[in-house]
């Protein structure tokens, strides 16, 4: 279980006369339960990534706290991190190591011995359908292959809590479907607590048991997709999201051909 309470964090940018303060997070709070997929939904720059970075002990918040299975992340970061698997925004691999070596390296850093780490790699390769990739160097990997390797790396220590920052970025339809399927299995078969951030409605509608809408650094609404639709009185979830996130009721779209590149 991951509890986030009233998080605030501001950054200062530039120096001298150009110095200015950006309030990245100003009161985000939610509870992500076990055996449940929680979606953190918000427009670009809403503070999703900063929230997840605070949860992963990379940033110390100005105020508020994050608890992972009851452990305060700021006070006991090592203990909290060993109960968490985080796939962050940055998901670089070591190009001169094979996928297996990449994953085992993180397993060893989590304190696993070589045999256990190797066994876990085989297990994860089964779940994520990446057996053929294991002994290739990650240098020439496609986006989807990188993603799978990074996910396996984040899950190598079999964490009870899984945090994913925009995991479907750059994935094609099939890869996205495979990832969704994998997440569902982790929830249903192993009762994991899964939190993932996204700005894509479809993903939330198809996958999430609970949605937390974040805008301008704060939590503006939370509940199931159906509950949020009811709350806003909109039939379409996209419309309810726009209403929740931007405060205004959405302008109905002009009938006619879609602009090129517009998301359907």
């Amino acid at each position: 279980m991951i509890e986030v309470h009233q998080l605030c964090k501001s950054f200062t940018q530039g120096s001298g006369r150009q110095r200015r303060t950006v309030q990245a997070v100003a009161g985000v709070g939610f509870v992500a339960a076990n055996a449940c997929i929680t979606g953190l939904l918000g427009p670009n720059g809403a503070g999703k990534t900063t929230t997840l970075r605070i949860a992963a002990a990379l940033i110390v918040p100005d105020s508020g706290w994050v608890r992972v299975d009851g452990i305060d992340v700021a006070r006991q970061p090592m203990a909290a991190l060993s109960r968490m698997g985080v796939l962050s925004d940055a998901r670089g691999l070591y190009p001169r190591l094979t996928a297996r070596e990449n994953i085992v390296y993180f397993g060893r850093l989590h304190g696993m011995d070589e045999a256990r780490a190797q066994a876990r790699v085989e297990e994860l390769a089964e779940v994520l359908e990446m057996k053929a990739l294991l002994d290739r160097r990650t240098d020439g990997f496609s986006q989807g292959e990188r993603m799978k390797t990074a996910l396996a790396r984040a899950l190598v220590h079999d964490p009870a809590n899984i945090v994913l920052d925009e995991p479907t970025n750059g994935l094609d339809v099939l890869a996205t479907r495979a990832l969704r399927e994998a997440l569902r299995r982790l929830r249903d078969e192993q009762g994991k607590c899964i939190v993932f951030s996204t700005h894509i409605m479809q993903e939330v509608e198809r996958l999430c048991d609970q949605v937390v809408v974040v805008a301008q650094g704060r939590t503006v609404a939370s509940g199931t997709v159906a509950a949020l639709r009811r709350q806003t009185g909109q039939a379409d979830f996209e419309d309810s999201f726009v209403q929740l996130a931007f405060g205004a009721s959405p302008q109905p779209q002009q009938a006619g051909p879609l602009a090129p590149g517009a998301r359907q």
């Binding site: 970075r53 992963a56 990379l58 060993s82 985080v86 691999l93 190591l97 304190g111």
Partner: protein
């Protein structure tokens, strides 16, 4: 402790798999030393040969039997100038200056009318310049002999010509030149260590950030100290490996020495190699820590290379202090890393014994640098991990 070992093993594997970089480093560091040694020895051998040769190159020697007779009495042999010698001198293809004798030399000389001989050399042809000094002295000697003979024929004492007698002696022998050149050896070894450690140091810091693997790495439950110490140990090991290889590479290198003088001057046996390695290992550690500290704030490998240039510049300039110094050996030289090592390596080459205290000071400075560098990297990773 476990985490340090894990990081160390992974970083070392990663560095050793970077074949192309490693190959370039090995070629430039391990092969360059002996190559320079061979080049120096060829140069010195050439100088020695020329000094021993006692040969003058003359065009039209047949017109001047008197002059030829004088050359031969001075133990110089005469060689005829090759065809198109002017062009060859200009193109530096001919190493000796050429003396041109006019056809009416003997006639003019007999009449006391001072024939003109021309000394051909070229300012951009260093070897011909070096050879024209002795040739000029030879002609001056001939003039003097002729003058003395003429005066004696008229009953004047030769001493009336010379108020002062000048006796010239050149004290510079090829051996001392060789000693000067072999001071370059410590410089090459220092540079090899620096460049050897650089690739790995930048890859584990700025490279890690650029790749986007730094953030995932920091989300492991391992302390920053163990991550950084593991990385430092791997980078230092690569630097130390290069240090050992480049020192040992001088051992076979000196078998190729062609100059006996240089071979006598440059005594580099197993004992010297071990002393060099002993001096360089702590320095490799210090340079690894410094490079990592310089690179850790950089967002890309390229940016890190630019800041590492500072260190390269410093390390390459410091040994010059001993070349330009007016004060001789100063105690502070031993307190400056890189300068201390190059000074001490120079002393090893001269066959001096090194007192323990002179070894302890540079060693302590290196340990201090390692602590400062590693500490700085840890601090940076704690606070500004994301930016």
């Amino acid at each position: 402790m476990n985490a340090i070992w894990t990081v160390f093993r992974k970083e070392l594997l990663d560095a050793l798999r970077d074949r192309r970089t490693l190959l370039i480093v090995l070629l430039s560091s391990v092969a360059v030393g002996p190559l320079v040694l061979v080049l120096i020895s060829t140069l010195i051998a050439g100088i020695e040969k020329r000094a021993e040769a006692r040969e003058v190159v003359v065009q039209g020697m047949q017109y001047a039997p008197t002059l030829r007779n004088y050359f031969q009495r001075q133990n110089f042999s005469v060689a005829a100038a090759p065809a198109e010698h002017e062009q060859k001198l200009r193109d530096s293809k001919l190493g000796d200056p050429v003396l041109v004798v006019p056809p009416d030399f003997e006639d003019l000389l007999a009449r006391g009318e001072a024939p003109v001989v021309v000394l051909l050399s070229s300012a951009n042809n260093q070897r011909s310049q070096a050879g024209s000094g002795p040739l000029r002295r030879l002609i001056r000697g001939f003039n003097q002999e002729q003058a003395v003979l003429r005066l004696a024929a008229r009953g004047v004492a030769p001493a009336a010509l010379e108020a002062v007698q000048l006796d010239e002696r050149d004290l510079a022998d090829p051996g001392s030149r060789a000693a000067q050149l072999s001071t370059m050896v410590p410089f090459f070894v220092l540079m090899a260590v620096l460049y050897g450690a650089m690739g790995a140091a930048l890859d584990t810091t700025a490279g890690e950030r650029e790749r986007g693997s730094l953030e995932p790495l920091l989300m492991n439950p391992a302390s920053r100290w163990s991550l950084v110490l593991g990385k430092w140990a791997a980078v230092a090991s690569v630097g130390m490996l290069i240090a050992v290889l480049s020192c040992l590479s001088f051992l076979p290198g000196q078998w190729l020495l062609r100059s006996e003088t240089l071979a006598a001057m440059f005594r580099f046996g197993m004992a010297e190699a071990l002393a060099f390695i002993g001096l360089l290992l702590p320095l490799a550690g210090a340079l690894a820590a410094l490079l990592m500290a310089l690179a850790i704030r950089c967002k890309s490998f390229k940016e890190a290379q630019a800041s590492a240039t500072l260190l390269v510049f410093g390390v390459s300039m410091l040994p010059l202090v001993t070349l330009f110094n007016q004060e001789g050996r100063a105690a502070w030289h031993l307190w400056v890393p890189a300068l201390a090592q190059s000074t001490l390596m120079g002393r090893v080459l001269k066959g001096e014994a090194l007192p323990w205290l002179d070894l302890l000071v540079p060693m302590a400075m290196c340990v201090l640098l390692v602590l400062l560098g590693v500490g700085f990297v840890v601090r940076t990773l704690r606070s500004a991990a994301l930016k």
